[in-house]
Every structure is written in C-alpha cells, then in structure tokens.
C-alpha cells in the first residue's frame, strides 16, 4: 500500500488537483444556472442589454 502510494504520489496529487478544479467548475456552472445566469455566454450579465426583464 505504502509502496503504491510512494510510487504514485505525483499522479494522485495531480489527479486530485485536476478533479478538484473540474468539480469547482461544474459546481460554479450549476450555481450560475440556478441564479439564472447563462453558463455558456461569458458576458457580464450586469452590463448586458438583455438583462432588463
């Protein structure tokens, strides 16, 4: 077990970092969607002409 961890510690740490970043992105997109913001249009909704209704 320890040997496996020692040999793959780099992969585990980088994998966890990538997983964390992807999870954070998905969580933010879900949060934005719930708040009525577009998850694809990256424009700043506060200054968007269409944000009036």
């Amino acid at each position: 077990m320890f040997v496996f961890l020692a040999e793959n510690i780099g992969t585990i740490l980088v994998g966890m970092a990538v997983f964390g970043i992807v999870s954070a992105i998905i969580a933010k997109m879900i949060r934005d969607k719930r708040n009525g913001k577009s998850i694809i249009c990256g424009s700043d909704c506060s200054s968007c002409r269409s944000n009036r209704c």
């Binding site: 780099g10 992969t11 994998g15 990538v18 992807v22 694809i40 968007c48 002409r49 009036r52």
Partner: protein, 826 residues
C-alpha cells in the same frame, strides 16, 4: 441615513460616464442612445452613505418605451432624495424638455450641464446663474468625460437632498392652469402638495398608467375628462400636444436669455464629418474600408504578431525575452544543414545508391557510424552531387547551394540549437507543465489529459486572446467615438432596400461582441415580423467567439492572407442582406419595413480608460469561458478521442479507433460535399455548438497542437495538411453561418417564444450555411481545377435556387403595425 442621488437625463448625455466617475464602477459606456436599459446603483467615492442610481436615458416622463417606464417608475415610486439631471450642453433645447418635467416631480433637482468642454471649444456661452434662476434649481458645469466639475455636482446634489425644495418656475397658459387646478382639486387632494403638480399634468395628458395607479373612480375620470375636453376645444389641439408646445415655448424663452451661440446656423464639427461619412455615395465605401482595416489589423498584421507569440511562445515551446534573433539565425542555419542531408539522400537514391539503411540509422537515437561511413564512401565514389534551393519566408529563391559528400558529412554533425542557450529564454506553458509532470513521475494518461487535452485545447483558444483584444479595442473605439451610430444610419439605407430596417443593425452591432445580447437587443424592434427576421439573421455576423476560427483558418491554411479575416465579416453581412431579401419575399415576412428613427450623437474622442475598460470586459468574459465550459469540453474531447473499444475491451486506443472517431465518421459523409468530410473536421463543427471557440480547442486536441509544437515543428502543420484552401474556406463559412452556440440557440428560442418559429430559425441558418459552403467548394473546384461531378451539379442547382429566391418578385404583405416612435431625428 443614506442619501440616494438619481442620475437622470436624455439618452447619450453622459450619465453612465458620470456614474462610473462618481462610483468607480465599470459600467459599459457607448456613444449611441440606449446603452443603459436598466437602473444601476453604486456608492459615491469618498462618501459611502450616498447611493448613486444610474437610470436609462429618457426623453420625457411619458411611458413610450420600456426604458422610460423603468426611469419614471423609479422616480415616482422610490422617490430618490435628489435628482442630478445631466443635460447635454451642446443641445440644451431638447434636454431641457425633460428638465421641466423633472422639476415638477416634487423631488429636489440639481442640473449638471455636461460637455461644457465642447461648448467652450465651440465658443458658445451658457449663463448658468441665469439658467438656475429661470429653472429654480442649482446649475453646475461639468465634463463627465474629462472629469471636471463632477465632484462639485455630487456635492451640490448631497447638499440639496432634503434641504432645498425645487419648485417649478414655469407655468402654462391660463386655461391649462385652470384645468390643472381643477384636476388637483377633483382627484389629487390626498397627495402631498409638491407631488400634485406632476400628477395633475399627467392626468391632463390622459396618462393611462397614472390613471390606473391613482385608482380613480369612473365618476372622477369623467369629471376630469370633461375639463380636459373643454380645454382642448379652446386650443383646438389634444391635451398632450398643448403641454408639449407650451413646454417648448417656455424653453425657447429661457434659451434666448441664457445661451449665446457663436456660430449660429453654421455646421458643427460633427455635422461636417457626417457630410462625408454619411454621404449618399461615400458612406458605404468608407464603412467597408473601416471594417476592412479593423479586421485586417486585428487578425492579419498586429494580430498575427501577438497571436504567433501566444501560440508558439506561451502555449508552445517558449519565447525569448532577449537573444531571439541570434537563435532564429542559428535555427535557420540548422534547418539548412538538415535540408542538405535530405536533398543528398534524395540525390543518392536518384543515382541508384541504396540510401534506406543510412536513412534508417539517422532516424534512430544513436546512428551506426559504420553504416554512415560506408554510405559516404559509396556516395563519394559514385559521385553523388545535390543542390539545395534556399528560399525566404515568402518562398522567393535566395541562393542555390551545392551539396557534396563532405557537406553531407559536415551536416550530420550539426546540432540543433537549444533556445535556452540564446539570451533569456522563457519556456512555454506545455514545456513547464510537462517538465513538472515528468519530475513528479506522473502517470502517462494523466500527462496526456493535461498536456494533450487541457493545455492543447484551452491553450489553442487562449492563444487567440491577444488578437481578440485588438479587435475589441477597435470596436470600443468605433462605439465610443460615435461612428457605430452612423453605421446603423448608413445601413438603414441599404437594409431598407432589402427588407430590413436600420433598427436591425443595432442587434447586429451588439452581436459582433456576443450573439446572445445581440439577439436579445432585437426586443427594441416593434414590428414582430422584422424582429423575428433580425433574430434569425443576427448571428450571421462573426461574434468574438468566431474570431479564433477565422484567425486559425487564416493563419494555418492561408498563411495569414490579408483577405481572409475581412472577407468573413463581409460574408456575414452579405448573408444578412441576402436573407433579408429572401425572407421578405416569403409570406411569413412580406410587408413594409418598419421606420427607423435614431439620434446621431456628436463625435468625440473617447478616453483611453473607457476603451480599455470595454476591451477588458469583453476579453475577460472570453477568458472565463475558456476556463470553464471550454475546459470541460476539451476534457470530454480528449477522453472520447483517446479511448474506445479495441479487441473486445474498452481502454486507450489509437485516435482512429476512438469513440469520437466512430461518432465523427457517422456524420462526416454529410460534410463530404463541402470538402471537409474527415471525421475530425465534422466533430470540430459539432463541438462548436457548445461554444464556437471549441472548434479551435477541438482542432488543438485532434491535430495535436501541443505535441507538434514540442517537437519544434510548425504548430499547425498537421491541420494545414488535412485541408485544401477551398475546403478550409468552405469550413470557415459553414461555421460562421450555421446555428450558433447553445447559449445563442437558447436566446433564439426565448425570443421566438414559439417552437415552430424556433425550428424555422435554426433550420434556415443551417440550410443557408450548407448551401453557401457547398457552392464555395463545388463551384470553386469546378472553376479552379475543372472538376465536374455530382457535387458540381448540386452546387449549380443550389446556386440557381438561391438566385431564384433572391430575384423573384416581391409579395404584397400586410401593412406594418408599429408602436410609438421614441427617438428624435437629429
């Protein structure tokens, strides 16, 4: 206790510029009417207890447009502590029309005369103390753009709030005043004294919203109506017109006493410029030239330079801070030595020598010297002589070198220069990350995900950020200086002939940044028919997200040819015009074109701050998108392009056996008539539906941009080998015109609010993209290479059908129904 200052004024009078200066906000500013369509709030710099509210620009307090309703409701319902009324000093007469109404609201008013720098420059004089006396409120001279007088105006507003009452000084003629008094007595005695005046005038004007708000009984309404009718009979005019004409008569009397115009009747600088740029014959060529320069500089000249740095440097091998030219010279010399080896081996083969063994050993990491020596001995004895043509970057012949066996031997000893040995070398992101992952012994699959997936995909998109920022600087300049408003005016003349109104150009203009707000902006078009047509055509104009596709195709397939980027803009414009003609000739869209009324703002030199702010807002939204949706999409593309089923089990496979290859191969034949029937291109076009930048990100992964750049070979070489010029242009046009990204498709669905219309819009966009790309590829192939086949027939039939729809006689439609006009033609 917080104080609220409401910024109110005519459209394009400088409210948002003042708001940004007072609060330190970064709201979008543009030199055309109607930039702000909703209320925004911020806190005053240096006094956080003061809230500043920026209202949409309005011409009056009559609810003709949505913006006017928003502003009016805020003023009468939320009752701010003070109104800071911003008026354009160069056009006092029109601006004071609103001022006379604001002073009737019962809210203290401070007048800020903006653009005083322009007034003084013109040699005009405004007697502000006299104006203050006439209007009954404090008057401050400011220049929001230059920042002069703005804090004094804010201080005056804060001091006035709650301390000073603004009592309207102007009165109407006796009969009108009598009727107003009658209305006050009949219906408004419950209201506070200072608010009665405005409500009585609105009831006199028969404002339906105010009648509903006051919940007047039928008897009261009838009583008021009798009074109004009696007044109207005396004036032989309707009540609203009576009030308007009396206001203007009053304003005229003020202007006479307070304003001295130096060159009355002469043309202003803006008028003189407009005589040229909106001239009947010159307007369109000037517009075409301006847009050509914008796209040419953004994508081809300056844009190419910075994007090459971003693609080859930051997201490639790296870049030199110093010593770059010395490295380039050394790399050029090494390339010559490498080519000497290549041409000598070719010459040896042609001379009948067996060069395969030496070629094979030279490709290995440790070449067998004995094999090499034996080959050189044979070649010397033959003897083999070769020639190498050395060309410059444009392919012009510089010199011809003779290559002997000795030269071949010397060339073999040449070592590839290490960029790190020359000056200060900064390695690129893939190199740094690659070294790090190697150092920590990261698994190969994870290295592949990060380097060949995320960095290759996201990096391919981010590499175009500098080019986009340059384009956004140009667009921000054109917007801020006032030229964009002229383009709408110029285009109205052209659009009108083809069935579209100049009003349609405002959404198209906004669509150059992002299609979503562009589609939404079609709401300002009153005619439902024209609005739907605008929704269908707006996304034909290349949005910011399509710029990376244009730049990639231009750079990789056309060697940065000058005409590719501007032509993509003009293809978009042509598609809009042709669609206008075609759709207007159908039963669904036939009819008169809606009128277009727009105020042309004065030209002014925009500030660097405003331009940079606008550029950054647009650019940052692009970068954010690359870090979220594009990143997720690249992971999906990497996974599906690297994994699949082989020998009955699921795992990492060759790209040609991957899930993506199999799916792509199913749809690729659909695009074969367009010249790009390979699965990679088909997949890229489909992933572009997620976000258009994804086309580039997908190419980055499927054509291994990161991998090839690490080898030091031209980043886009694999891509350029996969397309012919015609196929590449056909691919570009298809991606420019076909259904936009999901966000814009969603916006189309919302705006159409009808499943049938939504499908018509998407189907029309896809069909027109397919037909135009088919014609480009098939007819291009026929005329350039003489190829004839079933595709050529399909191309000619499509062209004939397109021309028929374009040139057939017009249908007579229903007369146009529109709402009230709300602009002023200047």
């Amino acid at each position: 206790m917080p104080i609220t200052i409401a910024l109110a004024g005519n459209p394009n009078s400088g409210k948002t510029t003042l708001f940004n200066a007072l609060t330190g906000s970064n709201q979008f500013v543009g030199n055309w009417p109607g930039v702000t369509v909703e209320k925004k709030e911020g806190r005053l710099k240096g006094n956080r207890d003061v809230i500043v509210a920026d209202l949409p620009g309005i011409y009056s307090l009559s609810p003709y447009s949505l913006e006017e309703v928003i502003a009016r409701n805020y003023l009468i319902d939320e009752h701010p502590d003070v109104i800071l009324n911003i008026i354009d000093g160069t056009n006092l007469e029109r601006n004071l029309f609103l001022t006379t109404q604001l002073t009737e609201l019962g809210i203290p008013v401070v007048l800020a005369i903006n653009m005083m720098d322009v007034v003084k420059k013109n040699g005009d004089k405004i007697n502000t103390s006299q104006l203050a006396k006439e209007l009954g409120c404090q008057v401050i001279e400011i220049s929001a753009l230059k920042g002069t007088g703005i804090m004094e105006a804010a201080k005056a507003a804060v001091d006035t709030a709650g301390n000073v009452k603004t009592i309207p000084r102007h009165g109407f003629s006796g009969t009108v005043e009598h009727t107003l008094a009658h209305i006050e007595e009949a219906a408004l005695h419950d209201l506070s004294e200072e608010r009665r005046r405005w409500y009585s005038i609105k009831l006199f004007e028969r404002d339906e919203k105010i009648i509903a708000k006051l919940k007047l009984g039928q008897e009261q309404v009838q009583h008021i109506e009798d009074s109004i009718k009696s007044c109207e009979t005396e004036f032989d005019n309707d009540s609203e017109s009576i009030v308007t004409s009396e206001r203007y008569a009053y304003i005229e009397s003020i202007i006479k006493g307070c304003v001295k115009i130096k060159n009355k009747g002469s043309l202003s600088a803006s008028d003189k410029i407009d005589r040229i740029v909106t001239n009947r014959w010159l307007a369109f060529p000037i517009f075409a030239l301006v847009m050509f320069i914008v796209y040419f500089v953004s994508v081809t000249t300056v844009g190419t330079f910075v994007t090459d740095w971003a693609n080859d440097g930051v997201f490639g091998e790296g870049w030199h801070l110093t010593g770059g030219s010395a490295y380039e010279e050394a790399a050029g010399n090494f390339e010559i030595e490498r080519l000497k080896v290549e041409v000598y081996l070719t010459a040896a083969r042609e001379a009948g020598l067996n060069a395969e063994a030496v070629a094979e050993t030279l490709e290995s990491e440790e070449p067998d010297e004995a094999v090499v020596d034996a080959f050189i001995a044979d070649a010397s004895a033959a003897p083999v002589a070769a020639q190498l043509d050395v060309t410059d970057e444009e392919g012009n012949l510089e010199e011809t070198l003779s290559v002997s066996a000795t030269d071949f031997k010397t060339a073999l000893t040449a070592e590839e220069p290490d960029p790190a040995d020359f000056g200060v070398w900064v390695p690129g992101v893939p190199v740094i990350v690659g070294r790090f992952l190697e150092a920590i012994n990261c698994a190969e699959w994870l290295q592949g995900l990060i380097l060949d997936g995320i960095i290759a995909g996201v990096g391919a998109v981010l590499g175009f950020v500098p080019q986009m920022l340059i384009l956004f600087i140009f667009l921000a300049f054109l917007e801020s200086c006032g030229y964009m408003a002229r383009i709408a005016f110029i285009m109205d003349r052209i659009f009108r002939r083809f069935g579209l109104s100049g009003k349609s150009f405002i959404p198209i203009l906004i669509g150059t940044g992002c299609g979503v707000p562009g589609i939404m902006a079609s709401r300002t078009i009153e005619s439902e028919r024209d609005r739907r047509m605008t929704v269908i055509t707006t996304t034909f104009i290349p949005c910011g997200a399509k710029l990376p596709i244009i730049a990639l195709i231009s750079g990789a397939l056309f060697n940065g040819a000058w005409w590719v980027a501007p032509s993509s803009y003009f293809v978009g414009m042509a598609a809009i015009v042709c669609s206008g003609i075609i759709l207007k000739k159908t039963k669904l869209f036939a009819g008169d074109v809606s009128p277009f009324v727009m105020e042309l703002p004065a030209y002014h030199m925009p500030t660097a701050g405003n331009i940079l702010r606008s550029m950054w807002e647009r650019g940052w939204s692009f970068i954010k998108k690359a870090g979220t949706i594009i990143l997720l999409a690249t992971i999906l593309v990497w996974f599906t392009s690297g994994f699949g089923w082989a020998d009955g089990s699921f795992g990492m496979v060759d790209m040609s056996d991957s899930i993506l290859a199999r799916l792509g191969s199913l749809i690729a034949p659909l695009f074969a008539p367009l010249g790009w029937g390979n699965w990679r291109a088909a997949v890229a076009a489909v992933t572009g539906l997620v976000a258009k930048e994804n086309v580039v990100g997908t190419f980055g992964i499927l054509y291994g941009f990161a991998e090839v750049s690490e080898d030091g070979i031209e980043v886009w070489s694999e891509l350029s080998a996969a397309f012919t010029g015609l196929a590449a242009f056909s691919f570009l046009v298809f991606n420019l015109l076909c259904a936009p990204c999901f966000a814009a498709i969603g916006a189309i669905k919302r705006e159409m609010n009808n499943a049938g219309w939504f499908f018509i819009a998407i189907a029309y966009q896809c069909v027109i993209a397919y037909v135009v790309s088919l014609c480009i590829y098939q007819l291009g192939l026929f005329f350039s290479a003489g190829n004839f086949g079933i595709g050529t027939v399909a191309g000619f039939l499509s062209l004939a059908g397109f021309l028929f729809l374009l040139l057939r006689p017009e249908l007579k439609g229903q007369p146009l129904k529109t709402g009230g006009a709300f602009g002023i033609n200047a």
